[in-house]
Symmetry: C2
Subunit: 202 residues, 2 copies
């Protein structure tokens, strides 16, 4: 199943290009498992979620280490009917039969609890969209219940959910939300914003 | 039907807060028709699409007039089942019975053709998500066909469509894509990125 993201990194500084260029090395450990293409508006990263989410985390932590206010924005997608399959996306994570919601929520919480802290605090905001089913809100509500117990839940907002905490459990929570909810082999997307070093953070 | 957006503005400059503050006046003509709430990660703007899209356009054109590389990112939504209705969102634009796709494509093209140019060139990239129906790809493909004839279509990318042109027809095209496609009273969202003054623009 085809999966990946269109990712953009926005350092709020005159030296934005320098901050971006100096962060890209954080992607090196993942490059052989991702297909990466850049244009003037975003970078396409194609690969399985288990590679994609840690890669985004490390890229963002590297950029945030500049101390500048940085934002990562991403349109993350799997199972889009209009996309061709790609061998680099093969993974046992996706496409299996769905186990009951309570079991999936428990596994998601365990995965988040297993992370090693990065030392970088971030705020994140995302919308999870489940397409091609008449019952998408059941999965959304199940996911929201997991999020509220994730340890990085800040609040529900109109159209989205806000997280805050160390980058490691935040990105692990996003990964779990993306992979454990929604129909198997279904079309699921996340519209993601992650922010660090904001002068207006409370 | 509840509609609105979570909007963020990213000026890539040390003076990012100044650029944002000096742009906010562009929202003044719309403030009585919108509900606006800001936190450290985005600004919630609640109101009908016919007010929302011009307001985003004017805000972004004002920020881009700084000459700095600026990006606007927005999660735009209507008809989300989890949201309460709001009187400020009442509009005849949404919720009516769907006319045939060819007729809607023609009306969308006419609306884009009627815009007055802003003088600001932008690149935009967006994903349109239609939820709660088993036939969402028909509407997506109909929308893509309209986009290809909009005069601001640049290319299809994985997960999204890229536009380029004057801010006025670009935002008008986004507005039409949002309102004319998808089931009436359905849950439709757009994940939007708009960029200006990028040093890497081709």
């Amino acid at each position: 199943m085809f999966s990946g993201a269109q990712i953009s990194l926005y350092p709020m500084t005159d030296d934005f290009a320098g901050v971006i260029m100096r962060s890209l090395g954080a992607l090196d450990p993942y490059r052989d498992r991702l297909r990466i293409e850049t244009d003037d508006i975003s970078t396409l990263v194609v690969g399985p979620p288990a590679v994609l989410f840690p890669a985004m985390r490390d890229l963002f932590v590297a950029a945030s280490a500049s101390g500048k206010h940085c934002v990562l924005s991403a349109a993350i997608s799997q199972g889009c009917p209009g996309e061709p399959d790609d061998p680099i996306c093969q993974t046992p994570e996706l496409g299996g039969p769905l186990s009951p919601l309570p079991e999936r929520k428990q596994k998601a919480l365990e995965a988040v609890g297993d992370t090693v802290l990065s030392g970088q605090t971030v705020a994140a905001q995302f919308s999870l969209y489940v397409m091609g089913t008449d019952h998408h809100m059941d999965e959304i509500y199940g996911c929201i219940d997991f999020l509220k117990n994730s340890g990085v839940f800040e609040k529900s907002k109109n159209f989205c959910t806000k997280l805050r905490g160390d980058a490691s459990p935040v990105f692990a929570t996003l990964h779990e939300a993306f992979c454990r909810f929604g129909p198997p082999a279904g079309h699921v997307t996340i519209d993601l914003t992650v922010s660090a070093n904001s002068p207006s953070a409370v």
